[in-house]
Amino acid sequence: MSGHLDIVQAGPGLSLQDLGRPGFRAQGLTIGGAADPVALYEGAAILGQSANLAALEMAGSGGAFRVSVDMRIALTGAEMAANIDGDPLIWNASYLLPAGATLTIGGARNGSYGYLHVGGGFDTSPQMGSRSSHLSAGLGRALQAGDSLPLGQDGTGQTGMTLTPVTRFGGGAVRVVASMQTASFSPDTRDRFTQTEFVRDARANRMGVRMDQPGEGFTTEGQLTIVSEVIVPGDIQITGDGAPFVLMYECQTTGGYPRIGTVIPCDLPRVAQAQTGAAIRFEFVEMAEAIALQTRFLAELKALPSKVTPLVRDPANIRDLLGYQLISGAVSAQANPFEEEN
């Protein structure tokens, strides 16, 4: 069996992503990968498979998809309106997508990046050890209507499973540690930075997220003369106009703008998923606390598979009825089961 997923319709920011491509920083290539890696762990837990498998990342809105063989799917990340042939789906859950049926995924209702996972993952050829598209490096590309992705081999996993997502949607407090150039900002500037309520700007992509605020910009002495230095995901770069940019996994490897601090990795998904207009506040924590928070977060990710539960079976749930009839083989995927009853 070698199935494939056809993209019938594509939103503007559709790409294949996994946990990224480490090991090439010295050659100018950042890790890239999913903007919200937590979603990859959640999808993997729901489908009972490895988080290293690639999934479809949907920035802002999804698209329409069809598979050539019956396929298990799961939906995670930013919640989006979704249905299979018109029957609505609950987010953060797994389903059987029958061959030939159309899965339609609309705009994000809460969050920025939604993910479509398939049982067994996508079986495209890895490039330099990863299947993720690194759009800013010109490695891979955004997916379009008409594209077809090969599907991996799925085990005999379950569907109809769900998971309460890790808390990270709607903005909020983001913890930051001091970084290389934090001390070059005056204490007053740092105080004002942590007291300011920022709004996630519309200028945001897989490379970075701009933070907006009504007051004057944040500056440091000698801002334009800093020697170009390594960038890590989470660095908060203060650009020429004084606006903070939180750099994401697809950022450049080096940069000459000063960094006021670095978002700790466990809070970076909160920045990625903050939708345009969401309020964000930055809070400095000591290194020891940051390490404790990150350690707890890694344990939470590891425990995700144990948190998966069956979707509550409601006899009125149309999706379930349709699935049941399909398993019995009584109707084809294209037929409307309710027509026969009339």
């Binding site: 480490p22 050659q27 290539l29 490096a137 540690v177 970084s179 390594v230 890590v232």
Partner: protein, 245 residues
């Protein structure tokens, strides 16, 4: 003992060892040599290493490995040599990359020459015979920052950005050269055009250059570059490579 080298944590992602606060040849050489020493030490907590102009970055998950332990090992290693006097690491390559200077392929040669205070012929003679080193790779995959050119070429970036220079463009500012990986806007002046591809994602060795490699950009005519482009499938753009020992 001066304030340098400095050791600092970088978020929870790793540790940075800096040899100076601005670009200098000894600090860049120290970074290259020290990175080679860290790689040779092969510490289990270090996932990868990289250099920028004057520093070495060690990628370490600081939530899994306490920074203090790594910093202590770094101090010991730093004490083992005067890194500013260290020789360049072994295994480097010297490249000769055919380049068209000026013409409509590289329209800012004359402007750059004027900024440097030399006539265009002198500019081409100097640029095409200068041997530069890859100081660091960054910004885009495989994209080299090379230097240092003579003080003549200590020219500032232009105020306004050029909307786009093509891949393979050779640009100059602040005694450094860059070969662009992808078409990109830039404040550096476009003085030469090569057919050299710095990033070849489909190749077994996707990155043509490494920090420490050296390059010369001999002048060729537009016709010669067109001929090179027509038959080159390697991405080398007619460049030749020899091992440096």
């Amino acid at each position: 003992m001066s304030d340098w080298p400095q050791i600092r944590t970088v978020g929870l992602s790793g540790i940075l060892v800096s040899f100076a606060d601005k670009m200098s040849e000894p600090a860049n050489r120290a970074a290259l040599a020290f990175r080679a020493a860290v790689d040779a030490a092969d510490w289990p907590e270090v996932a990868e290493t990289s250099t920028s102009l004057i520093s070495v970055f060690l990628q370490v998950d600081l939530a899994q490995a306490a920074p203090e332990g790594v910093i202590e090992k770094l101090r010991d290693l730093l004490a083992q040599a005067n890194w500013l006097d260290a020789p360049l690491p072994a295994g480097r390559t010297l490249w000769h990359v055919p380049t068209v200077y000026g013409t409509d392929l590289a329209p800012q040669l004359e402007e750059a020459a004027e900024a440097a205070g030399v006539d265009p012929d002198t500019a081409i003679r100097e640029l095409s015979t200068s041997r530069v080193r890859v100081l660091t790779i960054g910004f885009a995959p495989g994209q080299p920052y090379m230097g240092e050119l003579s003080e003549t070429w200590n020219i500032p970036r232009q105020q306004a950005l050029t909307k786009s220079v093509p891949a393979g463009a050779l640009v100059v500012a602040i005694r450094q050269l860059i070969i662009f990986t992808n078409a990109s806007p830039t404040g550096w002046r476009h003085i030469g055009q090569t057919a050299f591809r710095t990033f070849r994602p489909e190749a077994k060795q996707p990155f043509a250059l490494s920090p420490g490699d050296e390059l010369v950009f001999p002048s060729v005519t537009q016709a010669e570059l067109a001929k090179i482009r027509a038959k080159d499938i390697s991405g080398n753009g007619g460049a030749s490579a020899e091992a440096l020992t």
